[in-house]
Amino acid sequence: MITRVNNGLERRLEAETGQKVRSCYQCKKCSAGCPVAFAMDLLPHEVMRMVVYGQEGRLLESSAIWLCASCETCTTRCPNEIDIAGVMDGLRRMAIKEGVEPVEHEVSAFHTSFLEGIKLTGKTNEPVLIGAYKALSRRFFDDLGLGAVMLAKGKIKIVPRVVRDRRALRRIFRETKVGAEK
């Protein structure tokens, strides 16, 4: 594995998120309270330090940036007031912009499906989301039993709810397209 180092990473991240990661003094409170730390390849405090070290390759290819659930427990508890969840968001968006293949393919597929659904109808509709996710992640047989129960309980509505002002929606998605600015 080639570990790409980028000395400008910290500054670039600061420009993107407004966060000064260098103020981290490695107390590890973030990692101690992180509910998904057990599944991450890099712990949140390690991510903070690696940003300072400019370890761009390892960070953008990590599972950690995709598994962060944005619960903001770390952000709330950080004694140096770093928005750690915001840094995770920033790194993830950087990875997307640079076209880095996500290690957590399914997580990325979920976000894409979610946003494509909104682009299509303006609202989140369970059958659209689930259909798109299954197609993108290729996990066709997950949760079929659960799906049946949800359908029976009326939790999955067949007729999608839509926004009438399609032009506004199209415009929002066109003008916020990632990579469009560069």
């Binding site: 993107e16 509910p35 998904v36 057990f38 599944a39 598994l67 659930a69 944005s70 619960c71 903001e72 427990t73 952000t75 709330t76 968001d89 993830r92 968006r93 997307i96 957590e104 399914e106 997580v107 597929a109 979920f110 976000h111 894409t112 979610f114 946003l115 909104i118 303006g122 609202k123 989140t124 509709n125 369970e126 689930i130 996710y133 992640s137 997950d142 949760d143 039993g145 659960l146 129960v149 949800m150 309980k153 009326g154 939790k155 999955i156 509505k157 709810r161 926004v163 009438r164 002002d165 506004a168 929606l169 415009r171 929002i172 998605f173 003008e175 916020t176 990632v178």
Partner: protein, 297 residues
């Protein structure tokens, strides 16, 4: 002539997977004299997926809703914890960054600088309506029901936006439940994360988090978990245990929205219909405690 009148952002789940939350919210507001005017042609706030992958989109989507709210000129009421968080965040970003506000305005066509307040229903009930007024309208106390209040993430974090009285140990929902006669059990997992948007993509992670919540709630001696977030409720109900089919129910603990319990206490119509929509049915519990009116002949 209700003096509590709001424009209302219903949110996508409240007419889909969390329809019981939407219906109970509307019924409870009506019973307590809170007037709601639904935002015309609102769109999805973008939830986790937008801010996790596209910063500008995460402001633009709720930005359009804020622009619509601006036209109505009332404070905005929200019940979904995720919508609440996204709308509040977008509002703060738009009002503090004129360049961004201008860009959003150009995109959505009207002024997104919404200066009214964005309120969560729980906030309005606890801080504006007050327990005295709720008690006055109450038909019956929910005596005998033991519950743990589950706030999740987005109702309390980030604390600079949220209304709850404490970020680590909030008591707003505790006090509301206490006021309607529920026995609130102590537990340390009020604000622990359920796994949020990883529910479909990393069900294994969500199962682990959710199972911890259920075990701790059982240890605390609760009959049910009460929440104000449709994402928490969905994850809790759907992901109790890894198994051949995730819907097998190892923990018999129902998950209820606070509005449903309030509806029961206020004796509003439709309660039984909402309760029947849960994956883990709370109906046996509610019948055992005799909260539901006897079936009409």
């Amino acid at each position: 002539m209700s003096f509590h009148s709001y424009s209302y952002f219903p949110g996508c789940s409240q007419s889909g997977s969390a329809e019981e939350f939407g219906l109970s919210t509307e019924a409870v507001c009506k019973a307590l004299g809170i007037g709601l005017v639904e935002l015309p042609d609102w769109n999805c706030c973008g939830a986790s997926s937008a801010h996790m992958t596209n910063d500008l989109l995460a402001v633009a989507l709720p930005g359009r809703d804020l622009a619509i709210a601006n036209l109505l000129g009332k404070d905005l009421l929200v019940v979904c914890a995720a919508c609440y968080s996204r709308l509040k965040t977008a509002q703060a970003r738009i009002l503090s960054d004129e360049a961004l506000a201008g860009r959003i305005e150009e995109m959505v066509g009207t002024d997104p600088r919404f200066r009214g307040e964005i309120r969560h229903l729980l906030d309005v009930l606890v801080n504006d309506i007050g327990f005295a007024r709720i008690k006055k309208w109450m038909k019956s106390e929910l005596t005998g029901l033991k519950a743990v209040p589950y706030y999740g993430c987005l109702l309390v974090r980030p604390p600079e936006f949220c209304f709850c009285d404490s970020v680590e140990n909030p008591t707003d929902l505790d006090r509301l439940l206490g006021a309607i006669g529920v026995e609130v059990r102590l537990w340390s997992f009020k604000t622990d994360c359920c796994g949020g948007s990883l529910s479909l993509s990393r069900a294994d992670i969500v199962e682990r988090l959710v199972n911890k919540l259920f075990s701790r709630a059982e240890e605390a001696g609760a009959d049910c978990i009460v929440t104000a977030c449709p994402m928490c409720a969905a994850n809790l109900e759907m992901r109790q245990k890894p198994g051949r089919f995730s819907f097998k129910v190892p923990h018999r603990l129902p998950v209820l929205y606070f509005t449903e319990l309030l509806g029961l206490a206020l004796g509003v119509a439709g309660t039984e219909d909402w309760l029947s929509r849960h994956i883990i049915s709370p109906v046996p519990l509610v019948r055992e405690l005799e909260f539901l009116p006897r079936e009409r002949g």
